[in-house]
């Protein structure tokens, strides 16, 4: 009885005090900006800026008479990474820009749920100056809704067309106007465990038949032929569909289907999907279809690194994870390009844009924002520093990199890939990944529907027919991302 009364009174008085204190704290104006974006600190690190501002101007201590010229912040919402990658970006990109442009510094914050947060804010008429989306298919929705600024004039002013790889630049254009710059480009390749290969005296395959033979040999040796899993990222299946369509049907046919001159139900595509399904049914992917559905990114990269799997079809973003995983396991890795799976097909690399960057149509400072965008592409050395700080998993800007641009401390295998990529795609051997060049609903069906093919409840022909239907509908509605013109 006694303790009850005390409890209630105590509770009320404590909560009363706490309420006052907390509400005061909650309403308090924002704290000082985080030190890492302070121009004074950046001034000490600014080495790249061609127009290096004198240290005094870069100081945040604004004399009272200049109080009216407070810096206009460029609000930039970025994807969130881990601590090391975020520090790399802040130091090498934000701080260098802010040192060179103290009147219009970038205010870059990391948002954990960027897509949704951005969409909510933009739709409500708010949102940052710089808009980042996961790819051309996504930004197209924003463009169609009128939320993205036309960058064509800035493109001319800053000469962006010449700085970027042409297909990458084109992927940001809609009806001839530029709306987004590619922040990172990607492709798909085959990683393999060199230690396992050496032990088994295997060679990287150069044809589809050789690859199948390798897969069979791996099965016999009780090793997963291809390490894969889509438990935590259902869309992982599309990473395989693209290369199979490319390397079985050929890039030209793929292109024709994308522009409507061919049908996805044509025999070469049916053959490609049948082969992919066949490989799944035979258990080449992580031993069984059930396993494939239950394994995560950590799992299948780990399996490759530990020698439980021989090969792994994955994207260039895995460059961020593979070297570390192999360091831990003490085994060795390398890569080879996806070989042609049919006669008469060239080996090629699929093109992909992993992230796009644009300017909010409602931004009050588009000129400053454009300067920030230019900072991404105007210096190869800075771009390379940022990219290698991300372990080439993000911010790999599609510039015209040459072998000399890769410093000695970059993993030779990674450098070799990018050089090969530029060479091969430069001569016209490039394909199309589903997440960059396909309209969003069709893209979703590509991996969702394939589950049904694997389960046997849909035939390959039905699957492709459904894809064709969806694809036509979206193309008519103008939802297809731009496909760079190809000479066929």
């Amino acid at each position: 009885m006694r303790h009850r009364r005390i409890t209630r009174r105590e509770f009320l008085s404590i909560s009363g005090l706490a309420a006052v204190g907390l509400i005061a704290a909650a309403c308090a104006p924002s704290a000082a900006p985080a030190p890492t974006t302070s121009p004074t600190q950046a001034a000490g690190q600014a080495t790249e800026a061609p127009t290096a501002a004198p240290a005094t101007v870069a100081s945040t201590a604004v004399p009272p008479t200049m109080a009216s010229k407070a810096p206009t912040k460029i609000v930039w919402w970025n994807e969130s990474y881990n601590d090391a990658m975020e520090k790399n970006l802040t130091t090498n990109f934000v701080d260098t820009f802010n040192a060179a442009h103290p009147d219009t510094p970038i205010d870059l914050t990391y948002q954990e749920n960027l897509d949704q947060t951005l969409r909510t804010a933009v739709q409500a008429g708010a949102g940052p100056d710089v808009v980042i989306t996961p790819g051309p298919g996504f930004v197209l929705e924003y463009i169609n809704a009128g939320y993205i600024l036309d960058l064509s004039d800035f493109a001319v002013q800053y000469g962006w067309k010449d700085k970027l790889l042409s297909w990458a630049y084109d992927s940001g254009t809609v009806n001839g106007k530029l709306y987004s710059l590619p922040l990172t480009f990607e492709s798909v390749l085959v990683y393999y465990n060199k230690t396992v290969f050496d032990k088994q005296a295997w060679q990287p395959p150069t044809t589809g038949d050789e690859m199948v033979a390798l897969c069979e040999a791996a099965k016999k040796a009780n090793i997963y032929a291809l390490s894969a899993g889509n438990s935590d990222w259902k869309a992982a299946t599309e990473w395989f569909v693209g290369p199979f369509l490319d390397e079985y049907a050929g890039d030209d046919n793929y292109y024709k289907a994308l522009i409507g001159e061919k049908k996805w139900t044509d025999p070469e595509f049916v053959g490609a999907i049948k082969m992919l399904n066949d490989w799944f049914q035979k258990g080449y992917f992580s031993g069984s279809i059930d396993n494939y559905h239950a394994l995560t990114g950590n799992d299948y990269v780990g399996n490759l690194a530990n020698g439980k799997a021989a090969m792994m079809i994955d994207g260039t973003w895995a460059f961020a994870d593979v070297p570390g995983a192999f360091e831990q396991s003490g085994q060795d890795w390398d890569w080879f390009p996806m070989p042609p799976l049919n006669t008469g097909v060239h080996q090629s690399y699929g093109l992909a844009i992993g992230t796009t960057v644009s300017i909010n149509a409602k931004s009050k400072i588009p000129d400053a924002a454009a300067k920030a965008l230019d900072w991404i592409v105007n210096d190869k050395k800075r771009a390379m520093t940022i990219a290698s700080g991300m372990s080439f998993g993000e911010w790999v800007v599609p510039l015209h990199f040459t072998p000399e641009d890769f410093p000695a401390n970059v993993d030779k295998r990674i450098a070799r890939f990018y050089q090969d990529f530029v060479a091969v795609t430069g001569r016209g051997d490039y394909g199309y990944t589903t997440w960059t060049f396909w309209p969003p609903k069709t893209e979703e069906y590509v991996y969702q529907g394939f589950d049904d093919v694997m389960a046997g409840t849909t035939t390959v022909e039905q699957y492709l027919a459904q894809i064709q239907q969806q694809f036509d509908a979206e193309r008519t509605a103008g939802k297809t991302p731009p496909v760079p013109k190809r000479n066929v």
Partner: protein
Amino acid sequence: MRATFARRSRRVNSLLPNYIIATALALFTLLPLLSLVFNSLKSSAEIGQNPMGLPRVVHWANYVDAWNQAHFSVTMRNSFILTFGSIIGVVIISGLAAYALGRLNMPGADIITLCILVGTSMPMQLFMVPLFFLWSRLGLTDKLIGVIIIYWATMSPFATFLLRSYMVSIPKDFEDAARVDGASELQVLSNIIVPISMPGFLTVALVTGLSAWNEFLLAVTFLHRDDVKPISTALYAFQTRYARDWGLTSTAAVIMALPVVVLFLLLQRQFIEGLTQGGLKA
């Protein structure tokens, strides 16, 4: 007296099956969490090879690393503010409403019940955009108080009906006696109903605190600056696009869970003393 003594000793013996079952259930709930604690002390490489066992090398530094890399000093403070602000508001709002709906026989109680409960069943993604629109016009985005008000609204319905279910079965005698003596409704509520349904209030405080502490979606949509981010963002601080450092993420999860367990222990002490004063022992 001897009869009572015999009854007492018989009861004490027969609690053994209780203990056995209770312990079995405790193992069911705790063993999986053991792997969380073990993982919090492993390097991410070891987790790939040894996901459930004891760490071979104990990385105490994980706790320091996780604390720094996930900016816990800032996010924990923010979440404390969010949590306590929510608890206070929700307890008051739901206490008043539960009393009105549960004991005052108000006309229209049913309509209110329907509207409020149905509101809780709308998936959040669908009302976020209009809400953000309103909040940014009111200048409530990027402010902790803005999110606290949202929590008041989203958590009070559940709290109200939970409280109501505790208040409904209180006998009317005490209330009526007080009213006859001239007490106002507010006094009846605070001096009679609240003490008797204190277990309900404590449960509401606990549940609200827990929801506010772990809540992620609303918080990251309305809070964008680093200095106002909540603690739930810590779980996303250790990943690249398709891979996650589970060692550090587990560490962050343990750090996140500790304050709530402490809160639970504090509130539970009230529960247990109350329960054993009840008639359930011999």
